[in-house]
């Protein structure tokens, strides 16, 4: 494996050829927010929170889907990037009905965490307040579209890890919605294996155990690496002691 060198925030760093910018940035101990990306799932570049500035071009690039290359020079936290990140978060909050105080994920939500970290104390945009339903037809789980940010982690994990491809996306733009099968109630889905992986990887309170009360839901991501290591390396090792691993 060839080694590459590049510059991140004016520091010279080295990485491995083919490595994503995001992983190289995080290796340096730099915190870069992501809401759609999750280690173990295919990078999508959907949420745009991990955008970085490249010196050679005016374009902003998502670090999760960009490969690190020899000689690159990037900035991860310029004034413009922080401003945009906050804007993106505000738009996410404005798009659907995120009522943190009474959400099942209050206190453990990735969207809420990122907003708090960036210092988002209010939303400057008009709330769209769409009328969105909850689907509690599944025996064990419920989906609340009000809290969904369309990260599509559920779609990805169901397809690539569970292999069921129960979840997908319908509609376009702001009207997009994650659906089960061909937009049938989740409880009547014939492809769903009720494994709950989608619930565990969901960053917000959109997918939760049925019967969860306010601020009660806890999600774990560590199963993902467990399954992938087992599948690819035939190794079954629980890396972080099986505790609550969220990213």
């Amino acid at each position: 494996m060839a080694v590459i060198t590049m510059t991140i925030n004016d520091e010279l760093v080295s990485g491995v050829e083919g490595q994503s910018l995001l992983s190289l940035i995080r290796e340096q101990g730099i915190e870069l927010p992501t809401l759609c990306h999750l280690e173990g799932l295919e990078a999508r570049g959907g949420c745009r929170l991990c955008l970085v500035e490249m010196q050679s071009t005016q374009r902003l690039l998502p670090a999760c889907t960009t490969t690190a290359q020899e000689g690159m020079s990037i900035q991860t936290h310029s004034e413009r990037l922080v401003r945009y990140r906050r804007m993106i978060l505000e738009l996410l909050f404005a798009e659907r009905n995120h009522v943190c105080a009474v959400c099942v994920m209050n206190g453990r939500c990735e969207l809420q965490d990122e907003a708090a970290k960036i210092g988002m104390d209010h939303v400057r945009y008009d709330y769209l307040v769409p009328e969105l339903p909850m689907d509690a037809t599944h025996d064990k789980f419920a989906i609340d579209h009000n809290r969904c940010i369309l990260c599509t982690r559920c779609v990805s994990v169901c397809d690539s890890v569970e292999g069921a491809h129960t979840w997908d996306v319908m509609g376009r733009g702001v009207n997009s919605r994650v659906i089960t099968d061909l937009n049938q109630p989740w409880g009547s889905s014939r492809s769903c294996t009720s494994c709950g992986k989608c619930v565990q990887v969901c960053p917000t309170g959109a997918l939760a155990n049925k019967g969860s009360t306010v601020a009660e839901m806890v999600k774990r991501h560590d199963f993902l690496q467990w399954i992938l290591d087992g599948r690819e390396k035939k190794q079954w090792v629980m890396h972080n002691g099986g505790s609550e691993g969220r990213r």
Binding site: V102, M134, A136, T213
Partner: protein, 475 residues
């Protein structure tokens, strides 16, 4: 000439309201109305959510008495699940409810009403508030704050925080009481008892100064409603729903789930507050009062030694064995309830089994309707949910304690206005008396107090053609 006097906003109450006084040609009060001018919409926007979330959502109805909503909601949820909760969970819920009653009653007496009672109804409005009380009677103000703190602490030790604890849920409660929390509550009890006794002495000693008020502040016959234990004792969490008439006769002693059979809800165009009434007597004759005064009027006994002793004294204020009809005695009733709650906490906290871990039962949706009834500090609180097979709410109805006192508050305002307003000039102190009539009921119109500092007041004299004849604004 007919005129209207508007008091807007009414201060030192929880929420936002105004009062209109309609003066007749003779300058005397022809009518008076208490308007609740805020609209919350909980019954509408909760539809579509799951009933499991309701304790957390409806807690937000109020920052003063979130526990009441959490408990009524959790009980409605138990009903939807169709299950019994673990006995330990019930004890813990009761414990939190008593803590809630103590803190809310302490707030009403010390923070909101004591400025009138101890500094005078007609004293300088700039100082007639909790800050003025701290200046004039620092020890009393401090005691009030300490007593409220005790109640808040009980709630916090159980639910993790004192406002909106996400703790009682359908099926039980989320966390048991820790041994450390149990001993903390025990340690704090003696001081709380001392303050409760101090408050009782203060109020009883001041009764001589309030002879006029006692007879003019909402003294009228009415029905009374609240919960009692199976054998008629004072109750705040569960039990039978009892209605007693002005003579003290028991008209109803019914299962709480049958409340619809005898409670109706009327709506008036001039207020967002619903006006419930006792159906067999019709509207508005079916006016009933709820809250501390009503609870002490309907119960046969309190059930704890000190509270029972006070209850006997309290009953002397009623005529010849009839219920106590003067709303001024709400203050007294509130303090007796504080004492009762402290005694119940003292008794319950001795129970070693409180700290065990089995505090929640689980089930799926078994019933399509759930009804939860409990006694909030201000009176009986009803939550009724209809859900589909998955537990998604199809309809929500809440009857809030304050709403049930709506008709009685209007009558109280009328009575005070008639007694103190005569002619052209209206003294500021008179307006405060009218506000105090509302404070007696400790109405919880939403979730906030705006008591500190100056008292904003807006009075308008309005001619029949709508022209403003005179206006006084103080802010």
């Amino acid at each position: 000439m007919t005129r209207t006097v508007v008091i807007d906003p009414v201060t030192r109450i929880e929420g936002h309201a105004k009062i209109s006084l309609y003066l007749g040609d003779d300058g005397k009060v022809a009518d008076a109305r208490f308007h609740v001018v805020e609209f919350r919409g909980f019954e509408k926007f909760c539809v579509g959510r799951t009933f499991w979330e309701m304790p957390g959502i409806t807690a937000r109805v109020c920052g003063i008495c979130p526990v009441s909503h959490i408990l009524a909601s959790a009980k409605a949820g138990d009903d939807v699940l169709g299950i019994r909760i673990p006995p330990r969970a019930e004890k813990l819920r009761r414990l939190m409810n008593w803590g809630q009653l103590v803190q809310s009653h302490a707030l009403s007496f010390f923070h909101l009403s004591a400025p009138d009672l101890l500094l005078g109804m007609d004293s300088d409005p700039a100082k007639r508030n909790i800050m003025g009380l701290i200046q004039a009677r620092p020890n009393i103000a401090r005691s009030g704050i300490r007593l409220r703190e005790f109640g808040q602490k009980v709630i916090r030790l159980l639910g993790g925080r004192s406002v909106h604890p996400a703790w009682a849920v359908p099926g039980g409660v989320r966390e048991p009481l820790t041994a450390e929390a149990r001993s903390q509550i025990k340690r704090l009890l003696p001081e709380a008892f001392d303050i409760a006794e101090l408050a009782l002495d203060l109020l009883k000693d001041s009764y001589d100064q309030f002879n006029d008020e006692i007879h003019n502040y909402g003294d009228f016959p009415s029905l009374y409603m609240g919960l009692v234990t199976a054998d008629g004792g004072l109750e705040h969490y569960d039990g039978m729903l009892r209605v007693v008439d002005a003579e003290g006769r028991i008209l109803q002693n019914a299962e709480t789930i049958t409340y619809r059979d005898f409670i109706g809800e009327a709506v008036e165009p001039w207020s967002y507050l619903k006006a419930p009434y006792y159906k067999p007597h019709g509207y508005p004759d079916g006016m009933y009062r709820v809250g501390p005064l009503a609870r002490l009027n309907i119960c046969d006994y309190a059930g704890t030694p000190r509270a029972d002793r006070e209850l006997r004294q309290f009953r002397r204020h009623g005529q010849r064995g009839k219920p106590v009809s003067g709303s001024f005695h709400y203050h007294y009733a509130r303090l007796i309830e504080i004492l009762f709650c402290l005694e119940k906490i003292e008794e319950t906290i001795e129970d070693e089994s409180l700290t065990g871990s089995h505090v929640r039962n689980y089930a799926e949706v078994n019933e399509r309707t759930g009804i939860g009834v409990s006694e909030a500090p201000r009176g009986t609180l009803f939550h009724e949910y209809k859900v589909d097979r998955q537990g998604i709410l199809q309809s929500v109805n809440m009857i809030i304690a304050t709403g049930q006192n709506n008709l009685a508050m209007n009558k109280t305002v009328q009575q005070i206005a008639r007694a103190y307003i005569d002619g052209e000039t209206i003294e500021e102190g008179v307006l405060n008396r009218i506000e105090h009539g509302i404070r007696l009921f400790d109405p919880c119109l939403s979730c906030s107090t705006h008591a500190v500092g100056q008292m904003p007041l807006h009075v308008q004299l309005i001619a029949p053609d709508g022209a403003i004849v005179d206006e006084r604004v103080r802010d």
